[in-house]
Subunit: 239 residues, 2 copies
């Protein structure tokens, strides 16, 4: 849509051959309408303004692709785990679509070779995951939901994600924040409380990094409250 109205300068594009080769590797086909896919690889560091408020880069496509990917993964897990509750499904989904995992998949797919960015990408790996989401957005606009779902499931999820392994890893929010603390040499601890609420016990957890409360969570168990506190803290840290 956007790509066909506002065509970025040719010089922004990666070399045509590399671009098409990688695109076939990622999608399994070479699309006719390439402008959208090219736009998906334009990081905002090299965007240019068309109107006062609109820059031409992959951020709108990333916004769209993020939502489409979430829906595809949500349905896939719903079908794959018919006997699991929505708490499990939500946690599995966040393990799959978290920034770190998407960056990792994007790197394996070869996106670093075709992305256009001025940033030193060593320190900004999230531009790869963002571009992968933008590519999914472009694919959706080009081919619709069904084809996008099939490609994402067959070429991304099934090739790069081991659901059984992911299921077993205790790499939930709590483990992730504790790993972060170890890596960054900061003390991470939880302070937990119980409160009575409408005849139910509600658990409250505060996640403390050094001496500051960085995350708060509530839940019907201590474990759930800690997970929620850790989730909030991760959001703050990863922003």
């Amino acid at each position: 849509m956007l790509g066909s109205i506002f065509t970025p300068k040719k010089s922004l594009y990666p070399p045509e051959k590399t671009f098409l080769k990688l695109l076939r590797h990622i999608l399994g086909f070479i699309p006719r309408n390439r402008e959208l896919y090219q736009l998906a690889l334009v990081h905002k560091s090299i965007s240019f303004n068309i109107f006062k408020n609109l820059s031409i880069n992959n951020e709108r496509l990333e916004y769209l692709g993020d939502a489409i990917l979430d829906a595809i993964v949500a349905e896939h897990l719903f079908n794959r785990f018919p006997d699991k509750d929505e708490g499990f499904l939500t946690q599995m989904r966040s393990k799959i679509v978290n920034r770190e995992n998407l960056n990792h998949i994007a790197i394996k797919l070869g996106i670093p070779n075709i992305i256009k960015s001025k940033l030193n990408s060593e320190n900004h790996k999230s531009i790869y995951g963002d571009a992968l989401e933008a590519l999914i957005g472009a694919l959706y606009l080009d081919k619709g939901f069904k084809i996008t779902r099939n490609i994402v499931l067959e070429r991304i999820i099934q090739n790069h994600i081991n659901l059984s392994k992911l299921q077993d890893t205790e790499s939930d929010f709590k483990s992730r924040i504790i790993e972060w603390g170890q890596k960054n040499k900061k003390d991470v601890s939880f302070t937990n409380f119980e409160e009575q609420n409408d005849n139910n016990t509600v658990f409250i957890s505060h996640l403390v990094i050094v001496d500051e409360i960085i995350g708060r969570g509530v839940g019907s168990s201590k474990k759930e409250a800690e997970q929620n506190a850790a989730k909030q803290a991760l959001k703050f840290i990863e922003e």
Copy 2:
């Protein structure tokens, strides 16, 4: 899927006539496979256990419908506002799919008349929005993405959401948290800082309720940092 394997007891269902009438009002047709839609209206307060870890209620369908609704709304806004950036689109989407707005739409659609719940729903309006999401999940499983998208856009978004009005309202996160403070008689204030980071100024905002920091946000402007802090605080409060 689930509905066809584990059929809840007949007594859980709303009266057949009311149920079908409302379903036609909401969806525009009477579905053949009604079990899924019936399940979408079973709140967890009346769920029963089949396995140790799996209760029969609408929570799995809500998880699915939530993701499908997000994708539909994301694409609709993407097309409707071709000259707006992803920040605007994200904010508009959250105005549409926030709990309060979904509850409001669900009530207007008549969902309170057909939901099955033991809760005093005056204090738990979110069960209506949750059931609406679960219905969207059921519709998606029954009819696929394209038909679900058309029904959601034509019967829910276009009938119940005024995009121009929503666009004008300054009811973003900051306003919502301030309104919450007024309603609940708690002092809400922001403490803002600036930090130098890679030659850029980064703004940091702490949202303080009474004397506690409940939300933190960063951004490239004071306004953006405050929005992010308010967003985090709302998540904590609304959980």
